[in-house]
Symmetry: C2
Subunit: 354 residues, 2 copies
């Protein structure tokens, strides 16, 4: 009898133990919506790698299903879906919401702004993360770096640009804030679905377009029909974005929160490096197979006009938007400090080692 009682007590204790353990061992099944198609390397790789790492590190306790744009049909509605709780997470870019909330504009990249290492330093050690948290708090959504493209190219042009005059009246596909800058310079800015870009450029419906850089441009084939490849000014360090619904996040135990945070952080850095490799490799192919491609930098006159238009637009947009102004001021001050170090270190080194 004693034995049986003991056994029963043991089993009761075990049941209690299992219950606690079962709670800690609960499996979370999340959904993530991306802006991108399921084959858009390297953008799609950042959330895919993040989900894989999360699942492996949590031993299956946090599983994140990735829904590409063709599944949820709302490529540019990611913030709304994460905010509304239809999705626990999103992968997109902060500047896509600038029409709804101008405060979210500067967390992707800014024309004439910081390079990738400068911007990561601003995010993680220069107050950027705190400002991004502040900007997204009103949406009850958490926002994190989601992968950097590095410096984007200024675009493919069918004709050489020698003056501001040459730009006037050109039809160009260049979306977002950079498009607003170009519009101020007298271009007709249009947005065209990615699948129709090649034909539009070939037929002369547009005269120029920007996409990303050699790594992603090579598949689009623009280099076959528009030989002037202009260097970048408008997106020096495009950082994609992970979004997390605050309520979903708060339900996770501490260890899974840290697993998620770390998986996002490392996948973002990795995408920067992956795209560096992709661009280096693609450019080496393009240069060999299409020796007629001409890499050009916009002349000083054009750059100065772009800078002026950019500055004016930022003053306009900052008026009545104190948080936007706070973020832009923080970025400007950090860039000034970091750029001096960039000049002394990598820039002067590269100057002698090209």
């Amino acid at each position: 009898m004693l034995k049986t009682t003991t056994k029963l007590l043991v089993s009761a204790a075990l049941i209690a133990g299992i219950a606690t353990s079962a709670n800690a061992e609960k499996t979370f099944k999340w959904k993530l919506a991306t802006t991108w198609g399921s084959t858009l390397t390297p953008f799609i790789d950042a959330p895919t790698n993040m989900a894989k790492l999360t699942e492996e590190m949590s031993n299956g306790r946090l599983q994140i299903r990735i829904d590409a744009a063709n599944k949820h049909k709302a490529a540019l509605g990611i913030l709304d879906m994460v905010k509304g709780g239809q999705y626990d997470m999103g992968h997109s870019a902060s500047y896509y919401w600038k029409g709804k909330d101008i405060d979210t504009l500067p967390f992707t990249t800014m024309p004439f702004g910081m390079t990738a290492p400068e911007q990561y330093a601003w995010f993680y050690y220069g107050g950027g993360m705190e400002l991004m948290k502040k900007a997204y708090a009103k949406h009850k959504v958490l926002s994190f770096p989601g992968g950097n493209t590095g410096n984007q190219m200024g675009g493919w042009f069918r004709k050489e640009i020698n003056s501001v005059e040459d730009l006037k009246g050109l039809k160009m596909r260049i979306p977002g804030f950079a498009g607003e800058v170009m519009a101020k310079l007298g271009l007709t800015v249009t947005n065209i679905a990615p699948g129709e870009l090649y034909t539009s450029l070939e037929r002369g419906t547009i005269d120029a377009l920007e996409w990303v850089g050699p790594g992603m441009d090579i598949k689009m084939g623009f280099h076959k029909i528009a030989p002037y490849y202009y260097t970048g000014w408008h997106e020096p360090a495009t950082e994609l974005q992970f979004l997390v619904n605050e309520k979903s996040y708060n339900k996770l135990p501490k260890d899974l929160q840290q697993i998620l945070l770390t998986a996002m952080r490392v996948s973002a850095y990795d995408m920067y490096i992956q795209n560096y490799d992709m661009s280096a490799t693609a450019w080496s192919t393009m240069e060999k197979e299409f020796p007629n491609i001409k890499v050009k930098t916009f002349p000083k006159e054009v750059m100065d006009a772009m800078k002026k238009a950019n500055d004016e637009l930022l003053v306009e947009k900052s008026a009545g938007n104190p948080l936007l102004k706070e973020v832009l001021d923080s970025q400007k001050a950090y860039q000034k400090k970091a750029r001096k170090w960039t000049e002394m270190s990598d820039y002067l080194y590269l100057k002698d080692n090209l």
Copy 2:
């Protein structure tokens, strides 16, 4: 009776379940030896952050104690201690073992070599990790990137250098492979304990020294006594190193292995960004408080002589060391490809935005 039997069966099942769970829930207590002192920011932060992340993500199942150099008294003996199993892990730099195993030389940085993003791209997407694995396999040790300093400065000089002649006979603290290059140019290369460097430079025991960059140099005070601050050529992207004893690693369950790998990878990237911020901030202070510091680039004649000496040394060392040659060839080919992209992207962008 039926009830009791059921209970006993249930409790047996529970005991079995607990046994499995107890195994998976085993706590691993590891030790890591670093080359650095316990306050050497940001070097010490890379292993410290890695251990903190590992503990939090594993919910305490993998705990890593960090032993700084004053504890184990073998700052440059980390590989041996990890190899011998006295430590499960190490944090150091691969080029410290070049005297014992020349194959380990190129995994830190090389004079006139890759910048940080180029080198990370080589490690993770250009075959570098596979080559590092091959080089360390003979030691039964795993090696991983452990944090990058970014481009290091060429050093503090008491006099301006206008020619190769000016370098001849100078006494300089510059350790490692770069020291061998400088010796070929006629410098007397010495190594001096960090604590005695300031006094040695002040008293003229040495005429010049290199340390790291503004972020770490500022505490040393060299700028107060040697106003010529030369830009870098010898360590364009110094990557520190995590070492892991293979046997220790193989004992970990899969989830803890992935937690460890991810924590190392993200802490390495983070140190690069942390030091970027530290250097930018420290330089801004130095420049303000010591306007007499002159930032200089070595003249072309000097650079050319350094490049020649470097190339000759690499040919010498490669002879009879096929794996070293394989690694150097892989780096050289990757650098050539990646540098073109660096020029088109960040370099040309910076040129117009300094």
